[in-house]
Subunit: 211 residues, 2 copies
DNA sequence: GCAGTGGGTGGCACAGTGTGTCAACCATGG
DNA sequence: CCATGGTTGACACACTGTGCCACCCACTGC
């Protein structure tokens, strides 16, 4: 079994093994972000990162399956949170409201990161570097696919199922995630001074499902 | 100047030079798609493609900057069409309607491709291969950014400009593009039998800006 | 204490991507 | 006829990501 990329199959194991693993990953990520911010992403090779943390290239690849993963790997935790939160919303609640609330954790995470120095420039690098941006969007797309399933299950449970070939549930989820990304762009454009929560609220008030 | 990746800076030059270039690109792309469909994307190297068209690896890289670009390069033409169409919409028209119409060309393209054998399996490969999917989403994101500008210009012209840090215009555009992607998923899931136009209509009827 | 066991580590080799460079080639027009 | 500018192929190169193997080290049962 592949242990190096199971962060999506994220079980809440709190064994010693997993904890030290997370700790090392975090250390590597922080060192890498420092390098990325000061030297640029393209100019920083896996070799540089490995050297910076005193680890062989080969070993580093056991913690991160890809160079992009060094930066984006930790997002899986956040996106998993979104899905858990979505599943936890009350059954009767309107989808758009449920979606908005399921973003709370992610948003809080971003708002909290606004003060600590490295997160914002790193986020900017992600959105400005083609390769990273592409992978970043892919993470969102995966959430989109999962969230669609949750939304469909909900509609099934409510006795109002969607036809399998109906694009509606996915469109709704995609619109919600589009709002988050739109908010994030606005957030970064304004120097991360405004509150993400506010920006997402504004976006999700301007767009939504038609009832 | 970099000539191999200027397909985004797409001028409507119809010189001999550009035409033969396009022709060769098309030939390579078709050969590559055959290989991708029968052998799989990951298993097909640039070397294989080069050999299949009787061309050196180095030369192939002068026509496509990336292996992904061999598949996705031709999309730039389509996405440029979307932007041109959007700019051409009448000033007074509601944004959502303008966006829907600006997709017409792209949709027709997909519906037409449904019958010719290679396009649909290729599209399926794109959405199933992580690397390709990521790049595909990035293309959409680029359209999103450009379309946002157009929408903002329009609002400016109408004397109702958006604040620079307002996520609304981008959220609207993102929602529209999300509808297209949602429709595409449904389309492929149903074996490309239904009309894309219909699916997009359904998605864009279910979601939209709140007035 | 001592062998055994299993996970973590580094070294090495390898296929593949994408790029710089250079010499050869080929069409065009003076 | 040759000069010129664009196209091509060959080679070399740095880098990514992976398979393989020997090694080390903590922990276990004897």
């Amino acid at each position: 079994m592949d242990r190096s990329t199971d962060s999506t199959t994220n079980q809440p194991r709190t064994g010693l093994r997993e904890r030290t693993r997370r700790a090392i990953q975090k250390e590597v990520t922080e060192a890498a972000e420092r390098l990325f911010v000061e030297r640029g992403y393209e100019a920083t090779t896996i070799g540089h990162i490995a050297e910076a943390v005193g680890m062989s290239r080969r070993t580093l690849y056991r913690y991160f399956s890809t160079r992009e993963d060094v930066v984006l790997g930790k997002l899986d935790v956040v996106t998993d949170e979104v899905l858990v939160a979505l599943r936890a919303r009350p059954a009767g609640e309107p989808v758009w409201v449920s979606l908005r609330h399921s973003f709370d954790g992610m948003i809080a995470h971003l708002d909290a990161a606004a003060s600590s120095g490295l997160a914002v420039p790193m986020q900017r690098i992600i959105l400005e570097t083609p390769g990273l941006r592409a992978r970043y969007l892919e993470k969102f797309e995966r959430v989109e696919a999962m969230a669609e399933l949750v939304v469909r299950e909900r509609a099934d449970a409510a006795g109002k199922p969607w036809a399998a070939d109906d694009p509606t549930p996915r469109a709704v989820v995609a619109a919600a995630l589009g709002c988050v990304l739109a908010a994030e762009h606005a957030w970064l454009a304004g120097g991360a001074t405004e509150s993400m929560a506010l920006l997402v609220d504004r976006a999700m008030a301007a767009v939504g499902p038609r009832d």
